[in-house]
């Protein structure tokens, strides 16, 4: 009886000592990384737009720290914010600015910027639209391609589902908030939008710059090409921040180590490699 009690006490003492030491370690200098192996599970979640970047950074991080486990679920920005607030995610990601009521106790970290490309079917002759024209197309005031210098054909407007970070970013950045025309086709996810635009000559859609592939054509907006450079130098009008956030009181060291890695030169290289724009 007394033997087992002793055992418990000893292990508690050891635990307390380790915790204190760990606390000292993290409050010490931040430039030199501690020699202790980083272990533990990180489970992030949120915006689907950041998934490529975060997944790549995660697998690089776990390659460097084999003891750590990493998962990220792309469930949408709002879910990421909720999960970070509730502590069900070790960190959450959002591809839009947080609303005031969402901020709570969250610590935000901008780790990249993103551009959103307006995409057309490659067969479409239009190569440039002004922000105003895009807004009018999405509000249903411009309904034929001939009105913006294209062929005489109706415009098929493709949008994302309500609540999508990309959709709210576009509506806000282009300026047609909550005025989407009633008969716009709604598709779930960047991939579905792209498939739809690729399959319909008269369609217009929008996807994250990181998602644009050769099946569709990204057009210029306000005569500025949709390129990474132009988002970086802030000339491209439809761009937004990529945020990671966590609750200071619930976050663990492993997660913080991952976010540190994400902000490091190495992490930012991964951001760029996957179409994001480094901060």
């Amino acid at each position: 009886m007394s033997k087992s009690l002793k055992k418990v006490l000893v292990s508690l003492l050891i635990g307390a000592t380790v915790l204190t030491l760990a606390g000292c370690g993290s409050s010490g200098s931040t430039t030199s990384t501690t020699k202790d192996a980083i272990s533990g599970e990180i489970n992030g979640g949120g915006s689907t737009s950041v998934q490529k970047i975060i997944d790549a950074a995660g697998s690089e991080f776990t390659a460097l720290n084999p003891e750590a486990k990493f998962t990220y679920s792309g469930t949408g920005s709002s879910d990421g914010i909720k999960g970070a607030t509730a502590g069900t995610y070790s960190f959450g990601c959002a591809s839009r600015e947080l609303k005031t009521e969402e901020k709570g106790n969250l610590t935000e970290l901008i780790f990249a910027y993103d551009g959103i490309a307006m995409v057309l079917n490659p067969a479409n002759t239009v190569t440039n639209l002004t922000k105003d024209q895009v807004a009018k197309i999405y509000m249903g005031e411009i309904t034929n391609w001939s009105e913006v210098g294209g062929a005489d054909a109706p415009i098929v407007v493709v949008s994302r589902e309500d609540g999508s970070g990309t959709r709210s970013a576009v509506e806000e950045l282009v300026g047609f908030e909550e005025k989407l025309k009633a008969d716009a086709t709604i598709k779930e996810g960047n991939g579905n939008v792209q498939t739809t635009v690729a399959g319909n000559t008269n369609a217009i859609g929008y996807v994250s710059l990181t998602f644009v592939d050769k099946t569709v054509k990204a057009i210029d907006v306000d005569s500025v090409k949709a390129t990474v450079d132009n988002v970086k130098n802030k000339t491209y009008p439809i761009s937004r921040p990529f945020l990671a956030m966590y609750d200071e009181s619930k976050v663990d060291d492993t997660t913080l180590a991952f976010l540190d890695f994400l902000m490091s030169a190495e992490g930012q290289a991964i951001v760029e490699e996957h179409g994001g724009i480094a901060v």
Partner: protein
Amino acid sequence: MQAIKRKKQKETIIESFFLICAFVAVISVLAITVFVFYNGLKPFVSNSYPLWDFLTGVEWRPGSNMYGIFYMIVGSIFATLGAILIGVPVAIFTAVYISEMAGSRIGKVIRFAVELLAGIPSVLYGVFGLGIIVPYVLKISPMAQGESLLATILVLAIMILPTVVSISETSISAVPREYREGSYALGASKIQTIFKVVLPAARSGIMTGVILGIGRAIGETMAVMLVCGNPIAGIPTSLFDQIRPLTTNIALEMGYASGVHQELLYSTGVVLFIFIMIINLAVNKLVKTKVGS
């Protein structure tokens, strides 16, 4: 004495284990019902959104606090009706062919194909619809996009085939041989026998299949989401109009919604739930009359 007692105890334990297993289904259905209704009725009880506006509104703009699902109810009903109109005759004729006309080998092949159809995941129906049916509809459509009520109906019509075929076939095969023989003895041809004797005799079983098919069509989500267009407003007035059924409304936005928006998605679920319950009650009634007759 002791041995018998122990045996009895064992029996009781096993019996209660079975009872617990049986209750898993009951508890699940209760839990789901309570959960959906509790969340779905909240906005109307707390007056954060008027029930009347919810049921009769024709625009769904969460950002502008407009949550009308009337056009979705219409869309769901039209899509289901259309799928039944096309799918049911095809399914019944398939069932008749398998059980009355086909040789045993070709019958087996068709039955196997139908069973396979039942096993295909619904998202694959959606992908097929988006890749094949939508572009085809676009070719004949006066509209500029192929996502439409028609595309939805076509996908759903294929999806309900297995349910209706297998249940109809079972009930057609269950029609006693004597009925057919009596019909032939009166000089009726095979076709006359099928339409005047066999199908009427199998009527209630076929109706059960049809109603289960309706249930499948109205509740289908993934396949439909890819081909229906999901517009935020507008009652469909033609086969080429886009629709947003109740199911896809929930699936599209649940991941992102919060507050009243989320509660009203549950409310959409309540409406869907009521539709399904009506259908199930109808099935129960039909099955009962079948037993009675």
